[in-house]
Subunit: 227 residues, 2 copies
DNA sequence: AGGGTAGGTGTACGCTGTACACCAGGTCAA
DNA sequence: TTGACCTGGTGTACAGCGTACACCTACCCT
């Protein structure tokens, strides 16, 4: 009998799953066609039988992440849309926290895949089902922006991307020149003495709250974009 | 007399200005060390005498853009901070609209250069001068996120990055699967029949308005992060 | 029996950032 | 005046990237 050292055959899902695993383990930059192929015990060009190009691969990685999201909770009662929207977005947030590469991956996407559109559709439906006008819903989605994916842009914290601790030619900035920033930093440390950096979870919820509250208020007063 | 075919000597400002010009003309992807050096009539490695590495170069490009911003308007009167903040952010928006590459460049930055911190400091000061607590100011900055740079993430429009019109293997999505999105799209076209895509300026102002209004309301009611 | 196709291989190209050695010209101290 | 040093531009080289293209093999279907 011929021993068959056959590798499990490749397929698009297998390739994408391996890419996700690689990104989870070593970051998005580690996902090159060559490294990924090596992991799969295959020659780089073999991947191109399953993905169109690297962009397509990253699109697919994001799609797979979206597939992990919880199904939208059934909105219940008046103003239930608010909780439903919040829940859906929190689920997205949980997913991108599980996959640190997702943030950067999502930011660089330009294609709206069916999965991406699906998530946007879900949220849109929740707004509409809550009685919001298509008009307000439209602008509410824009207002949320990337927050529908569960992250807000970093503002104060440094280490998002690869933490290149290389020495630069420019000296570190002198805090004395930034009394305002210093003041809020001092206030923050006074409130949370043992914390390092900002509480991203708090910031996210705070932002979501201000935004959704604002939208709800506009809804209540019958806002219309043509004033 | 010896004819002197001396090229204008390089310097960091010259290099950065050339990089900005190149990005303005051909996009951020066109800014490679080789292409930039070619433009300057110099060998690629010569650039490294003036910038530490490519990251440093892009940092410097963003810094130069920030230098173009209007100085902060003097806030006047009660609630003048609101107009002042709005004006400062609008000025940033004008700058990134002049330089289409800026958006992507800013999003990928991880270093807080003095110029970057300076812009954040300016806004922080405006909030504080308006009487907002350091606490609220802090979270307001987070809430604004990248909008302090004058852009919100694209949600519906496609063509931000390089418009790769390559054919993909996945077919275009069927609009019928997205009735909610379809509904708001229909509403939008009904309101602006001759428009292509969303009105980014409107979206930006709308978002800024909801956010700042929300912050002002919290300020008025003495909001505190430790409830 | 034979053609088509799906999937994996191998080679090659052009592009990227940048490390490293070198070298000319100017400045400055001995 | 001489020699050391520094500044800035050069040339070569390397490793890594995405991917075009030709090929080859094994299977399915008529």
């Amino acid at each position: 009998m011929t021993s068959r050292p056959t590798r499990e055959p490749l397929s698009r899902p297998v390739v994408v799953a391996a890419a996700v695993a690689l990104a989870d383990a070593e970051g998005l930059d580690a996902v090159s066609m060559r490294r990924l192929a090596e992991r799969l015990g295959v020659v780089p060009m073999a991947l191109y039988k399953h993905v169109a190009d690297k962009d397509d691969l990253v699109d697919a990685m994001v799609d797979q992440l979206i597939a992990e999201l919880d199904p939208p909770p059934p909105p219940s009662g008046r103003d239930g849309w608010l909780a439903a929207v919040r829940g859906t977005i929190r689920s997205a947030r949980a997913a991108v926290l599980r996959h640190p590469w997702a943030r950067r991956a999502i930011e660089t996407r330009t294609r709206r895949t069916p999965a991406v559109l699906g998530h946007m559709e879900t949220l849109t439906q929740l707004f509409l089902a809550g009685g919001l006008s298509p008009d307000l819903t439209h602008h509410a989605m824009h207002l949320l922006g990337n927050r529908i994916w569960g992250f807000s842009p970093e503002l104060f914290n440094a280490p998002v991307g690869p933490t290149s601790a290389r020495s630069r030619r420019t000296p570190p900035p002198d805090p004395a020149h930034y009394p305002g920033i210093l003041a809020i930093a001092a206030d923050a440390t006074a409130r949370r003495p043992d914390a390092t950096g900002c509480d991203e979870d708090f910031e996210f919820d705070f932002a979501l709250d201000v935004i959704l509250t604002g939208v709800a208020r506009l809804h209540a007063q019958g806002w219309d974009s043509t004033r």
